[in-house]
């Protein structure tokens, strides 16, 4: 409540909360699949404001959080090689692998470079022809066009000392996996605005139809999210299940075709493990055979690296919406942002870190089942 009252659009937000509460004849269960939305919902305390009308479950919406531990171990292995400069977005550096994280590798002398764009990594490869430059290609559909371009350009420009460690995931198969699980409670979804800026929403239409769930393409500001929730609740109350677009200022139905085209040229659908969830068929992107030369796993022979997650970490239950972070026995004790057990505590968009940083865990504790 504190944060919402400070927010610029507080009056609009309050009006939306009242409307949602007035229209909900029961408590509906919605899931957001976007780390940015999770961050806003937890930080602004939207869950408390809507209690009794809507329960928000924080889905696997943060690509950092769902990157499987063995991909982190592969990254750590590569970064420790003296011939490698390992490049990554900043939020992957503190994600714990089986034994250590990339920051620790850097502290021990490994060459680990944070980049803003995958094209930074390509530039680094051209500046250091004597080294092998590997880029950690993670992300959802929003990031895939950028990472696809780096690989495409590497081939176009003949940059042979560049490769990518790919751990791309796509959102719709994860939604389907959650909906098909026998203990699913989710009755509607907020879809991620920037994922849909790239992909549009046509692939969500058969999901809404088949599983009879409303899906609302939603932005990430407080008012966006409340509007998205309102549009979902209105449908649920009317017995409808359509895909609607709350985030019209950035998203068109067909998305960004140019970006989709390059992704399809460079990547193909592959089965992918999600941290805490397990393997989901056709839920990831891997390099097409014609780009196999740029696959770091092949170049460095990493297929033998496998790893299991810490049994103390309940990230899987959190990401599937079975447990709110404060209910985890390790939360705030064995697992903190300084010493995370699992990825959701690392990323600012992870559900655990969002709860921890907002200080909401004290208030949230009694609500847990």
């Amino acid at each position: 409540m504190k944060f919402l009252s400070e927010y610029r659009d507080a009056n609009v937000a309050r009006a939306l909360v009242s409307r949602i509460r007035a229209e909900a004849s029961r408590e509906w269960v919605l899931m957001e699949v976007c780390g940015g939305q999770t961050h806003t919902i937890v930080r602004q305390g939207l869950g408390d404001l809507l209690e009794g009308a809507v329960e928000m479950i924080h889905g696997p919406g943060c690509p950092v959080c769902v990157t499987p531990i063995e991909q982190i171990d592969k990254a750590v292995h590569l970064a420790a090689r003296p011939d490698v400069i390992f490049t990554s977005f900043g939020d992957m550096l503190r994600v714990p692998g089986s034994e250590c994280d990339l920051l620790q590798v850097r502290a021990r002398g490994g060459r680990v470079q944070v980049v803003y764009s995958p094209l930074d990594a390509l530039e680094l490869a051209r500046k250091h022809p004597e080294a092998q430059v590997v880029f950690f290609a993670v992300g959802f559909e929003t990031t895939a066009p950028a990472n696809a371009m780096a690989v495409w350009r590497a081939r176009e420009l003949g940059v042979a000392n560049f490769s990518v460690l790919v751990s791309h995931v796509t959102v719709p198969p994860a939604m389907i996996a959650l909906l098909e699980s026998p203990d699913n409670r989710v009755q509607g979804f907020l879809a991620a605005g920037h994922v849909c800026t790239v992909m549009g929403w046509t692939e969500y239409e058969p999901i809404a139809e088949r599983y009879r769930v409303p899906i609302v393409v939603t932005g990430f500001e407080p008012v966006d999210i409340l509007e998205g929730i309102h549009l979902a609740v209105r449908q649920l109350e009317a017995g409808r299940h359509e895909v609607v677009n709350q985030y019209a200022r950035s998203v068109r139905r067909t998305g960004n075709r140019g970006a989709q085209d390059l992704v399809a040229r460079v990547f193909t659908l592959v089965d992918r493990k999600w941290r805490g969830i397990g393997e989901i068929p056709a839920s990831g992107l891997g390099l097409r055979e014609e780009f196999a030369d740029y696959d770091a796993e092949r170049r460095f022979g990493l297929a033998g690296i496998h790893a299991d997650e810490s049994p103390l970490c309940h990230a899987g239950d959190v990401l599937r919406g079975r447990m709110k972070p404060p209910a985890c026995p390790a939360f705030g004790i064995a697992c903190t942002p300084e010493h995370p057990l699992g990825a959701p505590m690392v990323s600012t968009e992870g559900a655990c870190a969002a709860y921890y940083h907002s200080g909401r865990y004290r208030a949230a504790l009694p609500l847990e089942v």
Binding site: V114, P118, E123, K127, T142, L157, T197, F220, A259
Partner: protein, 96 residues
């Protein structure tokens, strides 16, 4: 990490054949790939994610979004930008 940062295009060019431009993010300037918004021109506001413009938005939307990101401490990507800049990387694949 799927958030994008809005910024204003201040210059456009071709970088070894790839549409590119300079984008101003609240005072921080950086090279951005414009291949996915081929219709963008100088003065347009774009949502930029990891160095790639993914959509064009109006000025008011860009301002609101930037302020909202700032309020929510969601400008991590600007920090990555600084780290890349400190390493001398301009961000377009760059000639050696």
């Amino acid at each position: 990490m799927c958030l994008g940062i809005p910024g204003r295009i201040t210059a456009t060019r071709l970088d070894e054949g790839l549409p590119a431009g300079t984008v101003d993010f609240g005072g921080v300037r950086r090279e951005v790939c414009l291949a996915y918004v081929p219709e963008a021109v100088v003065g347009d506001y774009v949502i930029v994610h990891v160095g790639f413009a993914i959509s064009i938005v109006d000025a008011e939307e860009a301002r609101r979004t930037y302020e909202a990101l700032k309020e929510m401490s969601q400008l991590d990507e600007l920090e990555w930008m600084r780290e890349a800049a400190d390493a001398g990387l301009a961000g377009m694949g760059g000639a050696p």
